[in-house]
């Protein structure tokens, strides 16, 4: 994968934190600049050519996103700020009538806070309950337990496609099938899947799918919510403002059609355009090639890390992609992070916005490495060297 030349920042750092946010290829950065220098105007409003051009480019990205995740209609693609906002949008809109007092929402034990707290907020408000889908010690969903959690009160399943801590690729197609047998819709948190796997929402048959531009080589400030037409039509509008209305009067306001009903106010135009270029870039490399590349890195890194005594890896599913979280003896991840940083290696240390998962494995924090298209075997070598320094500093030698 010969892409490092596209990421000038990598000359200065060994970046193993793509799970937090990816670096951006030059073409994405340039596209944002070009937009502001040549095409900048507000969209959906101006009758002049500049605004029409900006609108066209903006709406073209909706098409690109649709194709990228294999959705059926571009009006099913809603632009948000990120995965977090996408999930909040669904939780909030469904709490108006679909989810009611005493209803139950199923989420898994490996969710990111973004797929926990929005449901807690609405559950508390309307008096609904959250039930947790348990996971095994290997870090996999317990499918049988999942099946048994459904009751007549179950109104929603929200589950991550890929765990940001364990790397597990969940059997969401199967889970969606089970949920639909019980007439329950499913929201999939795809933040850690879209950058690494070819995603097909039509084949998955999910009802909602959420992800972030900044984790897939695009700019910050943009996320996507895919929603099935039937759900989006049923849902009340999300926020009020310009663009999402058809007609406004003080007596009666009518709402715009999909997807605009859910997009109030001026969106992050330049960064949506940047996302379009990121998608082009990923398509050019090919999602299949990306998956393979990262699987290879995962295998090598896992093997090397396992040679380190007292290093414990969390998440050992067969279906796993480019994330490894671990603890090292009693050395706190924060100290590991500092020492690696001193060696110019960026890793993540902490609870990874998944405190309940930390509790599940009974550790206060973990160190995490996560791969992107630009990582190499050399990065892994450097990591291993860095971990040796950690040991040295803490007076232990790796044999």
């Amino acid at each position: 994968m010969n892409v490092r030349k596209d990421f000038p920042i990598l000359e200065k750092i060994i970046y193993l934190d793509s799970g937090a946010t990816t670096q951006k290829p030059r073409c994405v950065i340039d596209a944002i600049q070009k937009f502001y220098l040549e095409d900048n105007a507000n969209i959906h409003r101006g009758v002049y050519e500049l605004s029409q051009r900006a609108t066209k480019k903006f709406e073209h990205v909706r098409e690109q996103v649709k194709n990228f995740i294999h959705a059926e209609h571009s009006h099913e693609i809603i632009f948000t700020r990120g995965t977090t906002e996408s999930i909040n949008l669904v939780a909030q809109c469904l709490s108006h009538n679909h989810i009611q007092k005493d209803d139950e929402i199923l989420i898994s034990a490996m969710e990111h806070h973004s797929n926990i707290v929005p449901w807690q907020l609405i559950a508390e408000k309307i008096g609904a309950k959250i039930k947790v889908i348990p996971i095994t010690d290997l870090g996999e969903i317990e499918l049988e337990s999942f099946r048994k959690l459904f009751t007549a009160k179950t109104k929603m399943v929200a589950v991550t496609h890929v765990s940001n801590v364990l790397g597990t690729v969940n059997p969401i197609k199967e889970m969606i099938r089970i949920a639909h047998e019980n007439n329950v819709p499913v929201l999939v948190d795809g933040a850690q899947a879209v950058p690494h796997l070819s995603v097909n929402v039509t084949e998955l048959d999910c009802d909602f799918y959420a992800f972030s531009s900044h984790k897939m080589y695009g700019p910050t400030g943009v996320g996507v919510l895919y929603g099935k037409t039937e759900w989006l039509k049923k849902m009340p509008p999300y926020q009020g403002g310009g663009d999402m209305i058809e007609r406004v009067s003080f007596e009666k306001t009518t709402y715009n059609k999909l997807p605009y009903k859910f997009e109030a106010g001026t969106p992050d135009i330049s960064n949506v355009i940047g996302l379009g270029v990121a998608i082009d870039y990923l398509n050019q490399i090919g999602m299949h090639a990306i998956t393979e590349h990262e699987k290879k890195l995962l295998a090598i890194a896992t093997e090397e890390l396992k040679k380190i005594p007292e290093l414990k890896i969390f998440g050992e599913s067969e279906n796993k992609i480019g994330v490894i979280s671990f603890t090292l003896n009693d050395i706190h991840p924060h100290d590991i992070g500092t020492i690696l940083d001193h060696e110019n290696i960026a890793v993540r240390a902490g609870h990874h916005c998944a405190m309940p998962l930390m509790q599940r494995f009974n550790v206060p924090a973990m160190t995490r490495i996560s791969f992107g298209i630009y990582n190499t075997e050399k990065d892994i070598e450097n990591l291993i060297k860095g971990l040796k320094i950690v040991h040295e500093v803490f007076h232990e030698r790796i044999t």
Partner: protein
């Protein structure tokens, strides 16, 4: 490597692994929680204060070597000191770990001087101190250095 050795001195690693005053004080006059959401460092401070003097102090919790060592060293340092003295010590300590300046002899606390080269770790080194300050001001909320 030198800066790292400066930061992770023997004494810090040793205090981090075997912190002093690491226990519950049953008859504490004050109990205060401190938390750093970024890395999950967490501690509870127990305090017996009488007539403006810290008669006894202890803590429990978990966190990185820096935060545990700092809590351990702090509890040793402020025991039997007046509140005024403790506050002054914090000021001096803060100067040390942010600007590597020390105007006074800080005793063992001086081993944390290496933190000044690692601005990201200042929060770890001050968690215990901020918690102490809150305890002395009788705050009720969990202290957070985030």
């Amino acid at each position: 490597m030198n800066e790292l050795r400066e930061l992770y001195q023997e004494m810090i690693i040793e205090h981090g692994r075997h912190p002093r005053n690491f226990c519950v004080l049953e008859n504490a006059s004050c109990k205060q929680e401190g938390f750093n959401p970024l890395c999950g460092d967490h501690l509870i401070l127990f305090l017996i204060e009488k007539n403006g003097v810290i008669e006894n102090i202890s803590f429990q919790g978990s966190g990185c070597a820096i935060s545990m060592a700092s809590a351990s060293l702090m509890t040793d340092a402020v025991k039997n000191k007046s509140i005024k003295e403790a506050e002054k010590l914090f000021q001096q300590f803060h100067l040390l770990i942010t600007e590597n300046k020390s105007e006074e002899n800080l005793g063992k606390l001086a081993v944390l001087a290496g933190v000044s080269e690692f601005p990201a770790r200042v929060k770890c080194a001050t968690l215990a101190w901020h918690t102490l300050k809150a305890a002395l001001q009788n705050e009720t909320q969990t202290v957070s250095t985030e």
